[in-house]
Symmetry: D2
Subunit: 305 residues, 4 copies
């Protein structure tokens, strides 16, 4: 495995030149486009890594999977999916159109921004600070990394430039998808997106999902098999923005990417993989990360289909 990872990383480093680092906030723009890292965490507790696997990056949209778990644990499956749909969408991640067209108004799924904000609004806590702390602790627990925390600069930038998300949030409050203070809800959302991780952290969260919601080392049951399956299903149908279908065909495993350059994958009952490469393709996915996962899947026949 180690040799394979080294080889794949070497081969894929070149493709990063074809991608572009996200620049909508300065904290992202500073990333080195040539960075590329990977970490595989398997059920035996072994870790295999290569490249820039220890570089830190903001988790961004990958966080949507984790928040969804906690929201379901806090409210139950029925409550959550009464407010948010289960269907993939061909629209952009930040599209507001369907909120207006579909009746009754409902974000199509928890992986697009509108749905993810609605999910975040369901995290329990007496104020936004407590909500975020519960969420952060949950991230720490399932990644096994007590030191996870937010990148303050990224958080402030997200908050300063998050008008499209504000637009969605007010629209959703208008049609009754949630109540409460919009800025408070968005504050939790911007914070969750700004949590700093490295490849090891997301590989371990992927492994936790692969292990049906139990901490592999201890066997501790954090959430049910059902909940972890729901998350993995959304990762397949809508985890890779508008390249989810293509990724499912080319790689064939549950995966969630973030604009920070990370991709978290979870191969049921086998392993979790975290990759990082901030140079993105035109769909917003790590260009080097997708290539590594494709090659790895071909070598090791990962596809669940």
């Amino acid at each position: 495995m180690q040799i394979l990872l080294n080889k794949i990383l070497e081969n894929c480093r070149r493709i990063t030149e074809k991608g572009k680092v996200a620049t909508y906030i300065p904290a992202l723009g500073k990333a080195d486009p040539n960075d590329l890292g990977i970490c595989v965490a398997d059920m035996n507790g072994d870790l295999f890594s290569a490249g820039d696997y220890e570089k830190k990056f903001t988790i961004q949209s990958i966080s949507k999977t984790v928040t969804l778990m906690l929201a379901i644990m806090d409210n139950g499956i029925e409550y959550v999916f009464d407010k948010i749909g289960m269907e993939p969408t061909g629209d952009a991640f930040n599209s507001i159109i369907k909120l207006e067209i579909v009746s009754p108004s409902k974000p199509l799924n928890p992986m697009i921004n509108a749905g993810a904000i609605a999910v975040t609004s369901m995290i329990k806590g007496k104020n936004s600070l407590e909500k975020f702390h519960r969420l952060l602790n949950f991230f720490r627990k399932i990644s096994g990394n007590e030191n996870l925390d937010i990148n303050e600069e990224a958080y402030l930038s997200e908050k300063a430039t998050g008008d499209r998300n504000r637009s969605m949030a007010y629209f959703m409050r208008d049609v009754g998808i949630f109540t409460g203070d919009v800025e408070d809800i968005l504050d939790v959302y911007f914070r969750q997106c700004s949590i700093e991780v490295n490849c090891i952290d997301i590989a371990k969260i992927g492994l936790f999902l692969a292990n049906d919601g139990r901490i592999p080392e201890t066997g501790e049951i954090i959430t049910s098999e059902k909940v972890s399956r729901i998350v993995k299903t959304f990762m397949v149908t809508c985890g890779m923005y508008n390249a989810s279908g293509q990724f499912a065909i080319n790689v064939g495993i549950p995966a969630k990417s973030g604009v920070g350059g990370g991709i978290m994958t979870s191969i049921p009952h086998k392993m979790g993989i975290g990759v990082y490469g901030p140079a993105l393709d035109d769909k917003g996915n790590s260009i080097g990360g997708c290539e590594m996962l494709k090659k790895l899947s071909e070598e090791l026949d990962f596809s669940i289909f």
Copy 2:
């Protein structure tokens, strides 16, 4: 297995009362809403059946999976997906909106009507008759049923009422997705939708897909593992109309439904299942069929996630 099927069928018969038989063409409207049947075909060559598993019904949208295989075999993966997208969509199966909004114009995937018509246009043959015969022979081969043929009445009705499909087809020809005579292409499409099958037939096609494109009895390789995986991936991301996401979460296996009441499923390396129940839910899927598959998946832990 036999006992389980009998029990599940018995329990699910009642729910058919909550569904409605499709009535847009008379041939569909005549179906008995209480019909319910299931057939499981496994890798050992065993068949288990219950209920109305020998009743014939028109294959309808289930045919989209088979045509896609032949179109890829005829033209190559690259050619097909240069014209048709790989992404799921939250729009209706007969929506024309995205053809206008998305640029360059491209049906989002081969499971919605627009995409399926474009796929059918790629089947090789010197005229529409030859195209359809090649297609029908392919259906016969992979189902192992030499007697498969179209329901003439259904075909003529589809042709007579297919104006929405005509609208899409002319739109696609206008934007260059295909060339050639529209009525000829639609003739093949209406014919493929009108092929009559029973639960056994579609269970066997599902098994063929589960077996990576090889005929289980003979081991004959009909198509590549890659092609059969592509089809199964589309079945997960967009096989059940706008309930694909929900079905993936509740049942967790590749499945394709048709408005005739059939659902074909394929559990990779395990089995194919064909169900029939013409009473449909509000998304257009067999209401009894979905329920049976959900219960069977819970009992036997089918989910691929």
Copy 3:
């Protein structure tokens, strides 16, 4: 004229029963659905009135015409229409879809909410208070009513329930249609919508427009013929929500309605008419008001076409 107005008012009173008072804020819901009033102000300085012409109501969307004038006077025609389109739209007054679909993003016209909010953002002033005071003074001047002021309860309700408008405003700030504090801009917008008027006030503003931007009594030139024509043109193409086309055909004169039940019309070089009837039809226009204007137009051959 007086006899005609009395007769028409009497005949149209009955139709108010078919309409419904707006109820999205309590201040509107309290209106008496049977109220109906009209005032005609002509170029000779004569006023003719009938019914509940002295009842006060909030000006709501009628204010969009006046704010547009001041915004053009403050910034010039070119600046304003660089940010906001000139085209009518078949979408709802509060639709956000076109902001996402049209590229570059631009509200289609100043009469829909998105466009009107963008217009309000252009009113000059060092803070929202000064902006609103400049605007209020402009309303007072062209209506000749020094006592015009806002209905505090309506203003607070609008502010409390204005999430759809917030959603649009944040979207527009995101795509660069305006900068500045969104709540400050909306505060001016909610205030302008809450100005209390009666039929006489809006008849006089209509007359001012009919008189090409000059105060009829004094001849004082407030704005150019060009600006007043722009406003009257928008009143024809998009003044009556999604019944603008129908109204243009049936009545044929520039008119702008508000959800408070008022309709302001301006017959070029002839007269201004203000009507009030809080019972609305399904497009959001005063049902009794439209009927009165239709009958009056038929009697007096008002159509400009």
Copy 4:
């Protein structure tokens, strides 16, 4: 007037270089982009012309106004507008989206292609040939030109390339906006678009509309004042594609343009104007024609607002 026309034509000739001739069919592509002509027909029976006013061109979308008149005369106002809306739209002239989104499905107005095809379907006649002859005779009568006929080459090209129109027509038949053979209806539509006219012909049709539906020379009443007003209203709200609002503001008179380079205008109770200039702006309107009408309107204060 003659001197003014000469001067304006001279000044506007240059701007034609900024436009482009339509090329979607060869018959249009052959036009000389520098051509520019104008004809004014007034109520006294006087004609003033300048430039290439005798050059023939296909009437294209201008025909929609005339067909609408005959359709209303054949079926009554109520019947026509039960099937077709009265509202302007911000969508493209060939957009199909609203047909799908709006419920019940209805083309927004008779000036967009979908609505115009529906209008054509209402022309009475026992077959498409008779329908077109009735229509052609109507064109001849109101233009006073017995020799009007179609450009055969343009007609055949329109028919050969009319797939977008076919797409709309099948969609409309699917949702019940009309019945009957789609190709027959489109044949009439393609023919009406291919009628060859010059500036004099459309100036005279414009004058006929300005004269409330009566032939000026003879006083013969062809249609009612109501019908002619309906047409003029649509010309203002949606006669100039997606520049209708802008044209209403800049020129302020009823006008209908065609992709062949013609613009027909009608100034109520004053005159009809026909202009021709095949170089189009990016909205599909004659760039030189618009400029001439703007300048003429400024000089003679045409605006109806």
